[in-house]
């Protein structure tokens, strides 16, 4: 699995799976990561380094760990704060619920891979 150039004609991930990491600290909110379900087996396999097809549990675990790593690295860069952020365990959700809990969309990013696309979104509590 390798990064690929942006494909302007490609829509959102088909049959999406989303995981969310909630955070609190200098500010609070959610970071969501969404990929197509068909991308998940190869994503998990590349992390595990296994030729076997990862189980659904391993696929979700791998996606959650990626979201956790992205969140843990993005927040200090985005807010230049040295006060620790507390991250929740990643949790799978069936759909991205924008505005849930009063959170506001603050930033979005897309990563194109040779096997699909990954969408990231950062939601913040008002006033953050």
């Amino acid at each position: 699995m390798l990064p690929a150039p942006p494909r302007a004609d490609e829509g959102p991930p088909r049959d999406p799976q989303t995981v969310v990491v909630s955070f609190s600290g200098p500010c609070s909110g959610d970071l969501s990561l969404t990929v197509s379900r068909e991308l998940m087996p190869s994503l998990a396999a590349s992390i595990l380094g296994s030729d076997d097809t990862p189980t659904e549990s391993e696929q979700l675990d791998a996606l959650g760990e990626i979201a956790n790593i992205v969140c843990g690295n993005v927040l200090p860069e985005a807010f230049a704060e040295d006060e620790p952020f507390l991250l929740s365990a990643p949790r799978p959700v069936t759909a991205v619920a924008r505005g849930d809990g009063g959170l506001e969309l603050a930033a979005e990013a897309r990563l194109w891979l040779d096997e699909g696309r990954a969408d990231l979104a950062l939601y913040l509590a008002p006033g953050a």
Partner: protein, 142 residues
């Protein structure tokens, strides 16, 4: 000398990734113990001889930092070599962990970065890398 290693992380995939990285780099491992939170980790350290613990911070039930505190309070485990493996980026928190005698490895990491920390902390001599565990091209680093 082969190490008895304990990996504490609530992600099974990350535990496997850490163990695979150790093997890729030729770190000699004897017994492997896995725990999904600090409480389980403490129990395994109490019941088994462990040379090195690799511990995440954010975990349910008991965090890695609380586990580290409990290890240091127990005379039987106060000298255990601990590497915290985490996405934590707060220098304040990292320094606090170092003051408690833990080394720190930031996620994402490469197998080589993990190897270097393990060598520095344990002084272990490496075995020849096992080609069976070679990383495929394009593998992400963690």
């Amino acid at each position: 000398m082969a190490l008895n290693v304990l990996v504490v992380d609530d992600s099974r995939v990350m535990r496997q990734m850490i163990l695979r990285s150790l093997r890729v780099c030729g770190v000699p491992i004897q017994d492997v113990y896995e725990a999904s939170n600090g409480e389980e980790g403490l129990r395994l350290v109490t019941d088994n001889w462990v040379d090195l613990a690799l511990v995440d911070i954010n975990m349910p039930v008991m965090t890695g930092e609380e586990m580290l505190d409990r290890l240091r309070q127990n005379p039987l485990t106060s000298d255990l070599k601990v590497i915290v493996v985490s996405t934590e980026s707060s220098e304040v928190r990292v320094e606090r962990l170092r003051a408690k005698g833990a080394s720190f490895l930031h996620k994402p990491f490469t197998p080589e970065e993990l190897r270097d920390v393990v060598i520095r902390v344990t002084g272990v001599c490496l075995e020849l890398p096992n080609e069976d565990f070679a990383l495929p091209d394009g593998s992400p680093s963690f």
